[in-house]
Amino acid sequence: MFLAQSSNTIESQAPFYKNILEGIIRGEKDVNSESIDNAIKEAKEIANGNKTIFSIDNDSYYLVSTILLNYKAKLIELNKIEISTYQDVLKILK
């Protein structure tokens, strides 16, 4: 009403990321798994105050911001990305 905003704001890219994460957890090598690691690292940079939410690339905004906004406390303490990190991110996306 009074100039509708859009037809759909559901973040439909989540299934593709979930698929990559499930593959990594199963131990499969996926050419796209690097994008998950990069997103976790970028979210950590923002959580630590080295970058801001405004610096996230539009190409990965959904993934980085979702990790940042739902996993901030753990990101600050995160030293190494492990299988449990991927499991946590997968839970967030589910």
């Binding site: 009074f2 859009s6 593709f16 979930k18 905004y61």
Partner: protein
């Protein structure tokens, strides 16, 4: 969900393809996009669905929906249906903000009179993910990305209400650049999915101001005039600020007056590496325009082209006293719409002519 879900989708999509096969599109890119969607469909059809894990089935469900949506819009963007003039104006505005050459603007015509919107479900991030996935699985990629505009069939050549599409394009640009989402995250440390009512209201109102200001860059206060006609002084809601506040924000923008909403949005645009909102139109005085001689307006620039909608509104609002005063009401409406359409059409023909010289 299991493989039968996907089998059913494939059969439904097969029907859709058989109806679309004879389409003649308004440009070559749409033709090649159709072919790529069909190639992807054939690859999926040949795949061993029963061997897929749940994650792959879910991804295929999304991909087949993506193809379905693509066909729906391609079907409504054929040579004799597409509202060429308004789409060409929107393309110019889009080019100011999205510097990619793989984009195709497509339309779907709604039977609902209020059916103006941009479909934002398939972001650039989604497009990349879908291409990564089908690239690895089928060695296929989709070259073009569709930007989907829906407009009411009955108003597809009503250029006074077409100003709404600049507002809707604003929502699309906001979604592309994630400006309202970034402001929500920065202000409230929350994503839209987990936002409280107050936080959702913050997000939706910011998004509305963004879209209003985006439109005002090109069509001046035309959208405020139309909004005033249709909203009847609406009050604040979860999704929209009250009409008076919206009109005030646009007015402050056009008068270069300080305003917190404008400052916040422009700061967010700037620090995320984008251009800020500024006037991107060159006003045409209706009393000195070509319209008063009942001929199409000639434009020297794209900035003047965008002003044709404001010119149309000025002529309509003063049609009891201006050059239109002797015409019947219906004629006034038709004359204004015809003049706007011909003005845009002439500009585009001359542009193409000059490009091909």
């Amino acid at each position: 969900m299991n493989y039968k879900t996907i089998e059913l989708q494939i059969l439904q999509l097969e029907e859709s393809f058989s109806k679309s096969r004879s389409n003649i599109y308004s440009d070559q890119n749409k033709e090649s996009h159709f072919k790529e969607l069909h190639d992807l469909f054939i690859s999926i059809k040949k795949s061993d669905l029963k061997s897929f894990l749940l994650g792959d089935l879910q991804n295929h469900f999304h991909i087949l929906n993506y193809i379905f949506k693509g066909l729906e819009y391609l079907d409504n963007s054929t040579l004799n249906i597409i509202p060429f003039e308004i789409i060409s104006c929107l393309k110019h505005a889009l080019n100011d903000w999205v510097k990619k050459d793989n984009i195709i603007l497509v339309t779907s015509l709604s039977n609902k009179v209020e059916g103006f919107y941009f479909e934002v479900a398939f972001s650039e991030e989604y497009f990349i993910q879908i291409n990564n996935y089908i690239g690895a699985l089928y060695n296929i990629s989709i070259t073009h990305r569709l930007i989907r505009i829906c407009l009411p069939k009955v108003l597809s050549r009503d250029y006074l209400s077409s100003v709404v599409l600049y507002h809707e394009l604003g929502h699309f640009i906001d979604s592309e650049l994630n400006i309202s989402k970034r402001l929500l995250a920065n202000e409230h440390s929350v994503s839209l999915e987990n936002a409280s009512n107050i936080e959702q209201k913050f997000y939706h109102h910011t998004a509305e101001y963004f879209a209003d200001l985006f439109a005002a860059q090109y069509v001046n206060d035309s959208l405020s005039i139309y909004l005033n006609h249709i909203s009847n002084g609406s009050v604040d809601s979860l999704t929209h600020p009250n009409t008076n506040k919206r009109i005030e924000v646009v007015s402050d923008f056009l008068l270069s007056k300080p305003n917190d909403e404008i400052t916040n949005i422009n700061n967010a645009l700037m620090i995320s590496g984008n251009e800020i909102f500024k006037k991107r139109h060159q006003t045409i005085d209706s009393t000195k325009s070509d319209f008063k001689n009942l001929i199409p307006q000639s434009f020297k620039s794209k900035e003047e082209l965008h002003s044709v909608f404001k010119l149309g509104w000025d002529c309509w609002n003063n049609s009891d006293t201006n050059f239109l005063k002797e015409f019947k009401l219906r004629q006034k409406y038709q004359i204004i719409n015809n003049l706007i359409e011909k003005s845009i059409s002439n500009f585009e023909v001359v542009q193409k002519w000059n490009e091909n010289k």
